[in-house]
């Protein structure tokens, strides 16, 4: 596979390490009521869609950036890739 790194262009997926669903960026509030249930959901449950999936890849043998890649799990077609930190900071603003 080839991953369109937003800074570096198309890179071979072998340079990356895969983590999983980008929902892992939304760590629950540990101080909230029912935090344990929220964490169980966060740590263990997945949408696991057959189709478009937003997922985390780490450019471990590259620039060490974490990317959110949008990919179709039925065709492996990649629809886009963004820097995870930009997304997270953007969402926070």
């Amino acid at each position: 596979m080839l991953i369109p790194h937003p800074l570096l262009g198309l890179r071979d997926s072998q340079e990356f390490t895969y983590l999983g669903d980008a929902a892992l960026m939304q760590r629950p509030d540990p101080a909230a009521d029912g935090a344990e249930a929220a964490f169980c959901d966060y740590v263990f449950l997945r949408d696991n869609p057959a189709g478009v999936h937003r997922e985390l890849w780490f450019h471990e043998q590259g620039d060490r950036s974490w990317l959110v890649v949008t990919r179709d799990t039925t065709t492996h077609e990649i629809l886009g890739a963004e820097l995870a930190s930009n997304l997270k900071l953007g969402a926070a603003q």
Partner: protein, 981 residues
């Protein structure tokens, strides 16, 4: 000899070769198959199940029958298709899968027993008596099964792997492929043209069709010359594109030296990963046969293959020149073979055409509305039975060509699981619209097999493909060509009572398909699996569609309703050597060496693998005859003097920024933000699921600068996790991370004399306990100005330091310390002594921090700070973790001289030993020279409350059982006084 005139062989270059030990001669340009046929050899092998005599069927990589063991010794190569093995001088091949000589195969007895070996028979028997399967039936089946054999020696040849990139990959160098490559080449696109054959031209080489009114080889040579002259075009012959992977990556094997006696200084094969923006699939088509009674004898072959042998290799497929050749066809294509053979001077009996109104294109007999209903000849065809209007008569022939129509080579187009679609006009499957993105099939691969239409389609495919990536390609002047007559009717097999083969290699007949139908193995995949149809080395290239047609007839459905088959990579078999390419010995995986590796080597150290690292395990000295002697000496030297150990392999991460303390607070279970500058704290990291993950130290070098360490095993993983939390979860924190594991050489200096030794290398630095107490850290210089970091931390439990210098000074540092400490008894120690020292102190390592344990189990429960959140804190409170009562304990054998084997399970003395009564297990064990006893660590149910209890450590795996006493895991200096002195 049955050579004809003409052909594309070089008669000035005769080549000697042997088959089954007998010597023959062929010519440059021959394949093993064409050369054998030219020598009148029809019998080339035996079938898989019935061991029927088999000859060559095809002229290309789809060959199911003519499989040989090529070469000898360590280069022996089983199951090699004679049809694609290029002849070279000295080639030696043997037939395979028979016992006794090929022409008198003892296992041919299977053929007599064939009624017992119907499809799926083995699922119905061999069940009694139960034990006989492994002992009797299966070994017999395994011995009879298989095809060729391996030499069992390592492959002596070299292999390579590489990457290529292009705008357009053209797969196949026939009419369509050449037109595509030329169109794209002239447009300036980066083009790769790959063909599995050693010559370009594809089917043009096999046909007598003229281009621009002259032999096709002239046009091919002109095109090749132009492509060769274009710097943007790379021609790769002997290269099979075997698979289409994601995002335009194609796998290809280039057979660099398979046509040579030995590769010499070349690699034998190269694996290419070709990244292509677009591709044209011009892979041509494969002819299918028509099953009829006894259609598997040597001498019965595909009519198109016969044409190829006659036109390209100037070979007649008969044993003797006087033998006649017949053609059996369901369309016009078979007639072409008759015409070409006659033009070459071969003797043709006629064309048996299933059509009542069969055409006649030349001077030969046409048996219209007729079929072939039988054959004779034990080891080679000598007669066929022709049946017309219910009347049968036998005709002597030496060979029969069968033309059942052409199947487009859709394989690559279905590698992404897209389904081929049925084309009723062409009577074949063609690539569907859901093929791999960017791959455009063209020419015979989409059923446009006429020369004129293939040329045009190839050109147009290239124009379309390039337009998709913004390259405008103009049409090119194509040579004048014609499309041969190609009328045909749907005729799939000749009904009859005798066996009619569909899959030659695996001996699957029409009857087997009928039986599968009867037994409700009707979905095409069930049919294949029940009968083994299409599972042979040819992957059903010549048999799948015929089988579908037979099944369709039985079910009364159409062929597409009955099913389609899709193809997966590889297109043809790929040698494991080229996929595994090269680094199979000691270079199979990278080997990381510590900065003191070469020094340790010079000291005679033994090394041990720790992940990718090689670490010194122990340093034997003269006179030491057992590793234990060495390790005991090293351990005692640390406890009584001073020892040195390279600990560079521990992961190191530099953490800087205003929020570094807060960041580490969130990462580690315990507090890091409150750490004073100049101090170190032991840190425990949990996974988000609450289990213990890793441990190490955090040293605060400055207000906004920490240096943290990880275990060797988790160095990469922990760094990855830190970057994840930094970038994906808390990017608002002002913190920067970098792994510095390889940047710093780090050496542990441990033992009562450690301070004295260090004082001899530091530059004006106060090492006193007051100025630099336990858990202090500092940046300093040593040896007159070398930048260094010093940490007063101890894994051994002794007064100890770890000193870090830039990696390139690691060896110099250990040499200097050895020199300066000679009078202090300085002793290098390896991982074994390190292990003993830490077990004596009850420190957890990989066996205890194995990802399945909790902070509480490790006795570190209180480190999980309730005052703050950190990774895993919430989840560590779950019932199952909180209620886990297993604890890390020390274990001492009642007999001090008996080793407690790590991996033993613990049981209450006298209890039955079951999964239910299991009380725990031994994680680490060693001999403690300090205590003069074997000792161990382990996890035990309620272990902290069972001090003094005597348990059984059971190791039934090795027939051992022993009594052990539960003790504190801190065997040495439990108060920790030594490390604080």
């Amino acid at each position: 000899m049955t050579r004809l005139a003409g052909g594309l062989i070089d008669r000035s270059l005769p080549l000697n070769f042997t088959f089954d030990g007998k010597a023959y001669t062929g010519f440059q340009g021959d394949t093993l198959a064409s050369a054998l046929l030219a020598n009148g050899v029809q019998l080339m092998g035996r079938s898989f199940k019935y061991h029927r005599p088999r000859g060559v069927v095809a002229a290309g990589s789809e060959e199911p029958n003519a499989l040989v063991e090529l070469r000898s010794g360590a280069r022996q190569e089983p199951n090699t298709r004679a049809t694609v093995a290029e002849l070279f001088d000295g080639l030696a091949a043997r037939s395979q899968n028979h016992i006794g000589p090929l022409d008198r195969d003892f296992l041919a007895v299977n053929d007599l027993l064939s009624p017992f070996f119907a499809a799926g028979f083995y699922y119905k028997t061999f069940m009694w008596p139960k034990a006989f399967w492994e002992k009797l039936y299966e070994p017999a089946i395994r011995k009879a099964a298989g095809l060729g054999s391996l030499s069992m020696l390592p492959d002596p040849d070299a292999y390579d792997k590489g990457f290529l990139h292009c705008d357009l990959l053209v797969v196949g160098g026939g009419a369509a492929g050449l037109a595509a490559a030329l169109t794209a080449g002239r447009a300036g696109a980066e083009v790769i043209l790959a063909d599995e054959d050693f010559a370009l031209g594809g089917r043009l080489l096999a046909e007598s069709d003229l281009l621009d009114e002259t032999e096709a080889s002239v046009w091919i040579a002109t095109v090749r010359a132009e492509l060769d002259s274009l710097p943007n075009v790379r021609i790769m012959t002997r290269t099979t594109v075997f698979g289409v992977y994601d995002h335009g990556i194609y796998g290809a094997v280039e057979r660099v030296a398979d046509h040579l006696p030995t590769p010499g200084d070349k690699v034998r094969q190269t694996l290419w990963r070709i990244t292509a923006k677009r591709a044209v699939l011009a892979a041509g088509a494969t002819e299918r046969h028509i099953p009829f009674a006894d259609n598997d004898r040597p001498g019965v072959m595909l009519a198109g293959a016969m044409r190829a042998y006659a036109n390209r290799w100037a070979v007649s497929p008969v044993k003797r020149e006087a033998d006649a050749i017949a053609i059996f066809t369901n369309g016009d294509d078979g007639h072409r073979t008759a015409m070409d053979l006659i033009a070459k001077g071969a003797k043709v009996l006629g064309v048996i055409d299933v059509r009542q109104t069969a055409p006649r294109f030349g001077d030969y007999e046409v048996f219209a509305g007729a079929t072939v209903t039988g054959t004779k000849g034990r080891l080679g065809l000598n007669a066929i039975e022709i049946t017309r209007n219910g009347r049968s008569e036998w005709h002597p022939v030496g060979a029969l060509g069968v033309a059942g129509g052409w199947n487009p080579n859709v394989h690559l187009a279905s590698h992404h699981r897209g389904r081929p679609v049925w084309n009723a006009d062409l009577l074949s499957f063609v690539p569907g619209a859901d093929g791999p993105k960017g791959l455009i099939p063209a020419g015979a691969a989409v059923g446009k097999g006429g020369t004129e239409e293939a040329l045009a389609d190839g050109m147009n495919a290239a124009i379309t493909a390039l337009a998709g990536i913004g390259i405008v390609a103009a049409g090119i002047a194509l040579p004048k060509a014609a499309n041969a007559a190609a009328e045909q009717v749907a005729f799939w097999h000749v009904p009859g009572k005798k066996r009619a083969w569909v899959d030659f290699q695996n001996d699957v007949t029409v009857k087997d398909i009928a039986l599968a139908h009867k037994e409700n193995m009707r979905p095409v995949e069930h049919l294949k699996r029940w009968t083994t149809l299409g599972m042979a080395t040819d992957q059903g290239k010549t048999s799948n569609i015929s089988a579908l047609a037979v099944m369709a007839e039985l079910t009364g459905k159409s062929i597409p309703e009955t099913g389609t088959t899709i193809f997966r990579p590889p297109y043809t078999g790929v040698s494991l050597s080229v996929l595994g390419g090269g680094d199979t010995g000691t270079t199979f995986r990278p080997r990381r060496l510590t900065p003191t590796h070469h020094w340790a080597e010079a000291q005679g150290a033994e090394f041990v693998e720790v992940g990718q690292w090689m670490r010194a395990q122990y340093f034997p000295q003269a006179g030491e005859t057992h590793w234990r002697q060495t390790v005991d000496r090293e351990v005692l030297a640390v406890r009584s003097g001073v020892g040195l150990c390279d600990v560079t392999t521990l992961g190191k991460v530099d953490v800087q920024g205003r929020d570094a303390g807060e960041f580490l607070n969130r990462l580690y279970a315990n507090m890091m933000g409150t750490l004073k500058v100049g101090m170190v704290r032991y840190g425990l990291m949990l996974r988000e699921d609450g289990h213990a993950y890793d441990d190490g130290t955090c040293a605060r070098m400055a207000q906004d600068h920490y240096v943290v360490t990880t275990t060797t095993a988790n160095a990469g993983l922990v760094y990855r996790q830190m970057e994840f939390f930094h970038q994906c979860v808390w990017p608002e924190l002002d913190v920067q991370l970098i792994s510095t594991t390889d940047a710093w050489a780090q050496i542990a200096v441990a033992g009562p004399n450690a301070r004295e030794l260090l004082s001899r290398v530091v530059d004006d630095f106060d090492l006193s306990n007051e100025a630099f107490p336990f858990m202090a850290c500092a940046e300093l210089t040593i040896c007159q100005g070398l930048r260094a970091r010093l940490f007063r931390i101890s894994f051994s439990g002794e007064l100890a330091y770890e000193i870090a210098v830039p990696a390139r000074y690691g060896q110099a540092l250990i040499e200097r310390l050895m020199q300066k400490g000679a009078d202090l008894g300085v002793t290098p120690y390896g991982t074994e002594a390190l292990g003993v020292l830490r077990i004596e102190k009850g420190h957890a390592a990989g066996s205890e921090l194995n990802g399945q344990t909790t902070a509480q189990m490790l006795g570190l429960g209180r480190m999980v700070s309730p005052k703050k959140d950190s990774i895993g804190a919430v989840m560590s409170r779950r019932e199952g973790l909180a209620a886990d009562r297993r604890r890390l304990v020390g274990l001492k054998p009642l007999d001090a001289g008996t080793q407690i084997m790590a991996g033993s399970h613990l049981f209450t003395a006298g209890a039955a030993q079951t999964m239910e009564t299991d009380q725990g297990w031994v994680t680490s064990s060693c001999y403690s020279p300090h205590l003069q006893s074997y000792i161990a660590l382990g996890f035990l149910e309620a272990g902290d409350a069972r001090m003094g209890e005597v348990l059984v450590a059971a190791n039934p795996l090795e027939g051992q059982e022993m009594k052990v006493e539960v003790v504190s895991p801190h065997f040495v200096d439990p108060e920790g006084g030594r490390l604080r002195d």
